[in-house]
Symmetry: C2
Subunit: 333 residues, 2 copies
């Protein structure tokens, strides 16, 4: 579910018959893959046109012959299943979650449509992909924050090698100190400037103050010299704003003993243009993504995710409070 | 602030003049130390009689010539200041906390009376001690749980050696999996049986199910064969019960950005005899102790403590809920 800003028009074609649910691939399957085709072509009705996501901000990307997720024009997102335990774990999660979660929480997860054999973006041939809702598909210029929640991204059951590697990453980023880290972002500025999308290396080295600044920029009409936070009350506040949704998630995490979501991300997606145009249809989306390290909770709440979520909530609520104070001060001047 | 069940009557005498606030030691100081004196002696009025705490359940103990905390007869607890950074950190915490915490939260911390030079229990001579409230002093037969809160007991600023050692301990106990670990306990059974106080090694190897069992035994009139949880509604429940107090702490931790309490313990102290006798004076105490690794929060909530606290709250509330269900079922039989 990771999105990229890479504005590539690379397309991949797969025969629709080849995109069966795993284990049901048609014997008539016929797949044509055209990597790095720049211009879109007229596509026969039985072909699905796969594209590299325009709004991926973190994770593996399907560029330069690498394996990564693809999207189609119908609002579906195809995430390659990893070969190892991560793939099995993520598939098991998607297969089970809807029956295990209360109704009001299911909306925080992308819709799962099953799995399909799809021509992999690295040219390695047919590969099973998770077929998920493409959260960005309804948005023209989405600003996106990918926030990996938890002060620990490793499961106690992981291999020693993995734990050491993850722990190192956790200590080098804000994961340990803040209980979360920003994994990637893009913030829409304007038609002229496009997006602000700092390089991964820069994002990785974010300090607590950088995180605060990003959260202010995320809800501002300007990024420089000083973000105005003019959308804070609409996007972070309000009865369907981000804060309210995070608090709903928090209440669930205080009680749920179904899953422990290691290395899982909160994806915040907003559409500032929709806010400006007064559109009331969802301009704020809060989703949980990435479940390759999600394990059963065995009767214990996910205290690691919950603590990190509470920390993130505090950061968001501080931006909201500060923006209210600024508004009040401005009204007195 | 760690208490021991060791029923020793070892006494230490210090001239009251020697027990000045640090840096103000009288030039007339004269100290007599009698380690391992079994019988109490008539004490001159200017001597303080120090004893080994009867109800210490975790931490260093002042037995067998080791350095450990002492108590006196006036309800004060003398904790030796550690020589290294831990001592400095804990002293700094106690000197600052009352001015930094809201009034309703201060009661969760032991009263701090300053520091005194006291004859150390290991016979090494005068040593600065923190002078604190002896929480057990008003209780005849206290049942005590010492619960180290947080899925991480190390501060990111600690030395690499300390981090590796602490991490190993966290992974070998329930700290990582549950977000807390029981560090020590004693549960009063009866005049005849005394206390159930499992050995440290046993406590260290507790599983999630062992923790559940301990929390049931803690509020039961019997420990075997199946704890009856007959005090659960009075001790865990009710408007001044443990759960209510923990929720008050939780609300504060969701907001406070003053301290990060690494390796800090929740001390739960109850007096089942008081409950039986219908005494309304506090028979339930919830305190935070051990601040040798407490650091400034730098504007970030203590997500590590908060997550662990929420996990512990869930464990306690499950015992309470189960006991209510049992009561309802019994009323139908």
């Amino acid at each position: 579910m990771k999105r990229s800003l890479v504005g590539s028009t690379n397309v991949f074609y797969s025969n629709r018959h080849a995109c069966q649910t795993m284990g049901m691939a048609s014997s008539h399957s016929r797949v044509t893959s055209h990597q790095n085709v720049i211009r879109s072509q007229v596509t026969p009705s039985f072909y699905i046109m796969f594209k590299i996501p325009k709004h991926q901000v973190a994770g593996h990307q399907a560029i330069d012959g690498n394996l990564g997720p693809l999207v189609d024009d119908s609002g579906r997102f195809y995430k390659p299943l990893q070969d190892d335990e991560r793939g099995t774990t993520e598939l098991a999660f998607y297969r089970s979650f809807s029956s295990k979660l209360p109704h009001h929480i299911r909306g925080f997860f992308p819709v799962f449509y099953g799995t399909q054999l799809v021509e992999a973006s690295d040219g390695s041939g047919l590969r099973p992909h998770l077929v998920l809702q493409d959260i960005t598909s309804n948005h023209l210029n989405p600003s996106i924050l990918d926030v990996k929640i938890g002060s620990r991204t490793w499961s106690p059951e992981a291999s020693e090698d993995y734990i050491q590697k993850a722990l190192e990453g956790d200590r080098l980023t804000t994961t340990v100190t803040l209980g979360f880290r920003i994994s990637g972002l893009q913030i829409y500025e304007s038609k002229e400037s496009g997006y602000w999308k700092p390089a991964r290396k820069e994002v990785k080295s974010f300090s607590a103050d950088d995180v605060r600044l990003v959260l202010r920029k995320f809800v501002s009409s300007n990024l420089e010299p000083e973000p105005d936070c003019c959308f804070a009350s609409t996007i972070y506040g309000g009865c369907s704003g981000i804060l309210e949704q995070l608090l709903e998630l928090k209440a669930w995490f205080e009680d749920q003993t179904v899953y422990h979501f290691h290395s899982c991300s909160l994806l915040l997606l907003i559409d500032k243009e929709s806010v400006l145009n007064g559109r009331t249809v969802p301009f704020v989306e809060v989703k949980l993504i990435d479940f390759a390290h999600t394990v059963e909770a065995e009767g214990v709440i996910d205290h690691n995710f919950l603590g990190g979520l509470c920390s993130f909530i505090k950061f968001v609520s501080e931006v909201l409070t500060d923006s209210k104070v600024s508004t009040i001060q401005a009204s007195f001047n």
